[in-house]
Symmetry: C2
Subunit: 209 residues, 2 copies
Amino acid sequence: MQIAILLFDRLTALDAVGPYEVLSRLPETTVTFVAERPGLKRTDTGQLALNADAALDELPYPDILLVPGGPGQSELMSDGPVHEWLRAAHERSTWTTSVCTGSLILAAAGLLAGKRATTYWTALEELGRLGVEVVQERFVFDGKLATAAGVSAGIDMSLALAARIAGEQVAQAIQLGIEYEPQPPFRAGSPTTAPPELVEAFRGRSRFD
Amino acid sequence: MQIAILLFDRLTALDAVGPYEVLSRLPETTVTFVAERPGLKRTDTGQLALNADAALDELPYPDILLVPGGPGQSELMSDGPVHEWLRAAHERSTWTTSVCTGSLILAAAGLLAGKRATTYWTALEELGRLGVEVVQERFVFDGKLATAAGVSAGIDMSLALAARIAGEQVAQAIQLGIEYEPQPPFRAGSPTTAPPELVEAFRGRSRFD
């Protein structure tokens, strides 16, 4: 099975690396990090660079597509080579997936019209304006589309996807392999659990002020 | 604040990228990925390369050291430039930390003698043989040492560390920023919660068969 994870400048690293860590452990699977132009892509902080090993046209038809998000998403909302690749690949893919604001890119490319999908919590309204039936859940499946909420949610989505692809036992083995028994020290990970004043302060600024 | 994350060939990506995603969001902080030789480091699957931007001697005294794990850890158990860097940096560091089998490297460098620490669940015995007081917890603090269990545990440890460094409110804001409200689809993330037959099957082989 071929899995392509899209990289671009100013992506959020964990959006891509969380799912990679899960999906690369599926049997007989190759994950390839792709980009419009191969080479190093600096993440949103500028402090980490991930390498895109292949150009988009080297993997025209992966079985699974994964589009991460991050501030660089805003540069990928117009038609162009990335949208063309996404549309052609989506036609033949088994699964088309996104994490965080990656779903905005899928929507802008025309892949989410009328579909149920989710995104980063501050971007839910924007996703709705793109003609998507927005659902505020950790991850959402609609047909062969799977979209996750923000950043760390890609890990949960990928485990659920692993179970659909290879069965629950394989997915559980992967979960044990990455020792994914989360114990967050706070209840603050979503706008419904975080202290209200924190949520309001957050809404008032961009993610990376 | 200067944070150095050590990279090496065949590390497990999420061990490094989870903590990076948390700690890079601390105020006035710079994370630098360092290695004995700068450049691309291929992770354990061979399918992702992270870039080490600096050599060890460019960051002799970071405030925080973080050592990830992964199969490549086994190449870093003998004395040499990495151990020398770790020992000198640890003398002046505010926090010295590890994720997964990274604690084996810290122990081999002599930094964990008689200390309470943890590691990846299949490596707990090995850590004990290195003179460490092994604790099977999600993460363990002992003085300025913080060690996390396997792979994904680095996220939890880093949030707890962020709270100690900058206060709970900042840590909660980071947790909301990465939307860390985990909903693993299974209870299988540790040897105490996973189905026993899965745990046994896992113990019988290396992590990456």
